[in-house]
């Protein structure tokens, strides 16, 4: 089943151009991996990138540049050790398309509810996390701060605006206030990013007031 809720064209363009914040780009890419329509759109923007690269006025390379490149191709390729890819043991449970992602310690918030911070290793103040919420759970009514992006990876949830299933992409900001309900037939796993200066404690507190103190 293909997703019904998609990122804006601007988001797809800046993801393809490589100018989108890295955490937001992860969430957009999670959607692209599940949405052939947006993948084609991203492909168009990559074609545009190639065409614009061709149209660039050539810059003068340094004198030694070519010789250094020749020396580099003559040297044996640097190979990453096979183990170097999995940055943490916790990444074993990661959903499809996100294998190898560096994640922090999975935190139990309440029955059936886990939050896992995702490490983006960039000079970026974004917060990126995986959220797993048990079947049938209702989140307390909350608003959002900054620009937040969410991609449903597994299961589904609903709010006043609609139902969001696997691959669906949701953009929220301060104006959105909602109380999402997870479908009864299974847990919902989402990847989310926010550019607000939050820390994980804020996120947990905001979503799970009822569990505070557990």
């Amino acid at each position: 089943m293909t997703p019904h809720h998609h990122p804006s064209e601007d988001l797809i363009a800046s993801c393809a151009a490589g100018t989108l914040r890295p955490g937001a780009a992860l969430v957009v890419r999670a959607h692209l991996a599940r949405c052939p329509t947006c993948q084609a759109d991203a492909g168009f923007f990559e074609s545009l990138g190639g065409a614009l690269l061709e149209a660039e006025p050539p810059a003068q390379m340094s004198d030694a540049a070519f010789d250094r490149a020749l020396a580099a191709i003559a040297a044996p390729g640097r190979r990453r050790a096979p183990g170097a890819r999995s940055a943490s043991a916790d990444s074993a449970f990661l959903p499809k398309g996100l294998e190898g992602l560096a994640v922090g310690k999975r935190r139990w918030i309440g029955p059936g509810v886990w939050v896992t911070p995702v490490k983006t290793e960039h000079r970026s103040r974004e917060l990126v996390y995986l959220l797993r919420i048990g079947a049938g759970m209702v989140l307390p009514r909350h608003t959002h701060s900054g620009r937040e992006f969410t991609c449903v990876l597994e299961g589904s949830f609903a709010d006043d605006d609609g139902v969001y299933g696997p691959g669906d992409f949701v953009a929220t900001d301060e104006r959105v206030e909602h109380s999402p309900v997870v479908a009864r037939d299974g847990a919902c796993v989402c990847l989310a990013s926010t550019d607000a200066p939050l820390v994980m404690r804020d996120v947990i507190g905001r979503f799970f007031q009822p569990f505070a103190g557990i």
Partner: protein, 210 residues
């Protein structure tokens, strides 16, 4: 070393499909001379082909990176690195899926994202799906992707210098329209209509390819 592809290398004009003119209505995927050079590297480790690719693309990659705000010295290094990646990953290049220019754009884009990360901490890892082989679509999808590259390239080539400039600013640099207007010393309305017109042309190229 004079490789068997020396002739291709000498007559190299990456923008032009080799041996035939661009025919937008053709169903056959177009191959550019640059594609042939990457294939020559993959098959024969052809250093003449590498030299020709380097000469064409390294200065353009450098120019693109400087546009993104990378220092000229680092842009020079990253441009070298991009072409070294082209050499090492040449076997993964599939000219039925993408043009060499689009493939090299992805490599350069990802290297810059990597470089930003390296600045912060060494040896971090993030999945980088974009220059790895995609899950295999059907041959029809491949052909469509390859044709899209040609059509978008033709559409970009048909843009006027003014339109090209606003597309570069808005796509490569992600500039807000107001900032573009200030950079170019133009009224905001003019910038907006230029971007709109340029995107219409490019969109038309996309629609044709679907």
């Amino acid at each position: 070393m004079k490789g068997m592809h020396g002739a291709i290398a000498q007559n190299f004009d990456a923008g032009r499909p080799s041996g035939r003119s661009v025919n937008a209505s053709s169903n056959a995927p177009q191959r550019s001379a640059a594609d042939a050079l990457v294939v020559a590297i993959a098959r024969h480790q052809d250093r003449d082909a590498f030299a020709a690719l380097f000469q064409h693309f390294a200065p353009r990659v450098k120019s693109y990176l400087i546009r993104l705000g990378v220092s000229p010295a680092q842009a020079d290094e990253l441009a070298q690195e991009a072409l070294v990646v082209v050499w090492r990953k040449a076997a993964l290049f599939d000219p039925s899926q993408a043009s060499a220019a689009t493939w090299i754009f992805r490599i350069a884009r990802n290297l810059r994202i990597d470089a930003l990360r390296r600045d912060r901490r060494a040896a971090a890892y993030e999945p980088d799906p974009s220059d790895a082989p995609e899950p295999p679509p059907t041959p029809d999808v491949h052909r469509a992707q390859r044709q899209r590259d040609e059509r978008v390239r033709a559409a970009v080539a048909s843009l006027g210098a003014d339109q090209l400039r606003v597309v570069q600013l808005s796509f490569f640099q992600d500039c807000p329209h107001a900032e573009i207007a200030e950079t170019l010393g133009l009224p905001l309305g003019t910038v907006k209509s230029r971007i709109r017109n340029a995107l219409q042309k490019l969109r038309a190229a996309l629609e044709e390819s679907q």
